[in-house]
Symmetry: C2
Subunit: 360 residues, 2 copies
């Protein structure tokens, strides 16, 4: 267990943006909330998964909602706190720690804000290693752990508990409808997880990974270096393309932001044109007709100069970007994982191949 430094907050925001792969929203506002909490004397205590007692109780939380609404309203960690309290009332037992369902985007920070609000440590792990749009795409669900009971709360006086559900997908669908009724944004807490379950089935040390990515980018910026290269230098990451945004088609469909980004290359060895589809997150990247990467691997689009992550809902004509591809966690690349987060789960008619293999 260690306290995060004030300086690590911004690094975490940068890294969570990169791991958000275009979705999950950049945690600008959440970063400011966390910094304000620090100035009021609060601190984030990060606990390594190995430090958890096997029977310790972990609350897995997130903000569920439409990306645009989470940008319109100020961060509401209180809604998650109420979902956590509702789950405690339902199970009759208090939680020992908080964990984010996803390290990508704003939800990385919501776990931190909730931890400070409730005085609980935050586990250095998540269930996606990135951002994904739906609840059944969590590693716990992939490994067969029940998502229900699942608590949903807002900042007014509404609290709903999905006590039982026939499947993880049904939890997602029921939950999504409830969230829409609550204004398309709400706090959620999934079924309590034991420390043993976290150690066995979570994406471990992903908070530290996000901070490390952020620190590398910060260091390169400070040194006048290339911040994109700074994170590609790491293992399991490859620069897929550099170029200019030529066109974006974007539509809201079934509660998701879907569309395609077209990039024109600068004549580099990476090719002349890249098309990147998104379904909240960037899902498939093709270069001059050839597949470069697909879910569950991470396709992240960064500002070419600063390596600041660019969201699928804000990317626009004229931006000069670098596309970096990162390896998904082995849980996501397993057959059970690919059944839920592979290209076919996103509606594509091809099988997953690791981006390293595609690059050969």
């Amino acid at each position: 267990m260690r306290e995060l430094d004030y300086d690590e907050l911004e690094a975490l925001a940068i890294g969570a943006g990169v791991l958000g792969t275009g979705g999950g929203n950049h945690p600008h506002l959440e970063l400011m909330c966390a910094q304000a909490d620090y100035r009021r004397g609060r601190r984030i205590r990060l606990v390594d998964p190995d430090e958890l007692a096997d029977d310790g109780r972990v609350a897995v939380v997130c903000i569920m909602g439409a990306p645009l609404v989470t940008k319109e309203r100020l961060p509401e960690p209180q809604s998650i706190c109420r979902a956590v309290r509702r789950m405690e009332a339902h199970t009759g037992a208090p939680f020992d720690a908080i964990m984010s369902i996803e390290i990508g985007g704003e939800n990385a920070f919501f776990a931190m804000l909730v931890g400070m609000e409730l005085g609980l440590p935050v586990v250095d792990a998540d269930t996606m290693g990135r951002a994904f749009p739906e609840a059944q795409m969590a590693s716990f669900a992939i490994r067969g752990l029940e998502v229900a009971p699942f608590a949903i709360a807002d900042i007014r006086d509404n609290e709903v508990l999905i006590a039982r559900a026939e499947s993880a997908t049904r939890v997602e669908r029921i939950g999504r409808r409830i969230v829409v009724e609550l204004g398309s944004i709400a706090g959620t807490c999934t079924a309590p997880r034991s420390g043993a379950e976290v150690k066995a089935h979570a994406i471990l040390r992903s908070v530290s990974r996000a901070i490390a990515i952020g620190r590398a980018i910060q260091a390169a910026r400070a040194a006048g270096g290339d911040p994109v290269a700074a994170i590609v230098d790491g293992a399991h990451a490859r620069l897929g393309f550099t170029g200019k945004v030529e066109d974006v088609s974007r539509r809201t469909e079934g509660g998701f932001v879907r569309g395609t980004v077209r990039l024109a290359g600068g004549g580099s060895h990476h090719g002349t044109e890249m098309l990147i589809d998104f379904q909240n997150e960037f899902s498939v990247a093709r270069c001059d007709g050839a597949l470069v990467a697909s879910v569950p691997d991470l396709i992240t689009v960064l500002d070419e100069e600063t390596a600041e992550a660019i969201g699928a809902e804000v990317i626009r004509y004229g931006q000069r970007v670098a596309v970096v591809v990162l390896a998904a966690d082995p849980i996501m690349r397993s057959p059970e994982g690919l059944a839920v987060v592979g290209p076919r789960a996103f509606g594509y008619d091809f099988d997953y191949r690791p981006f390293e293999e595609l690059a050969r």
Copy 2:
């Protein structure tokens, strides 16, 4: 407390149809289920509200869903039983009796089926004295009692609990979305009511009223008399029109069946043309331009020969019908009641006037 006779089951079905005012579905299938239960030796025990202990715990239940779906699928009282058990688990206390949220239509019978399934008596009361489309239109909600917690379950393995809600209307809206996700039909159980609350705020002895209406119709049929006249003879009921269905416009809108029925009169003293609007239930009746009756008073359309109730979703060209108007319960006619179930609550721009007054 008394057992209902086998013969009373059909009388209850006929009377519940009349009190359904075009909505709530005619309980044909539910009657057959109850008769089958009787042949298996089960019995409905009807308990008078006065017999309830003040601290007795009453489960107020219904099937919530789209009218057409409840016709497509066989009756599923087990879904309500699961909602009742979920509510017991949530509150930590068992129920002593079952009560229907509405006496009109199929829900009158679901309370009976659930009572037999769970071995609990059924209270001779409901919360509407008729059928209404939404949960906040219950007498308990009108009297300011909380509708939440509110349990919803289906016959698969889905159970949702609205633990808290900012208003009765929000419970209705959240609940409606959940029900749609579950296939547009589910069983529900509202907040436990004490015996004292039932005595003070329910529509009392409405099961007996429905049975009495049904018996009067049966007796007139058997005697070769006029079954419509048999129920108009009663207090607080008036024959509003007789004629032929000339036209029906019907559309599904916002989860409801809405439309208008046009009747042509037979030249009787009742006038030449009646228009009846419906929003699941018949809501407003006008004759030759003059208002005859509006919600919350009961507008019920009966087969002219048999006095069998005709639902708004099945009424069709050519049927010869009698329109009978019955007085709403005083709770529904109170200012608090009219705010929720008066004409303005159904989108009309006029104030409620009792049908007796309109008839003068």
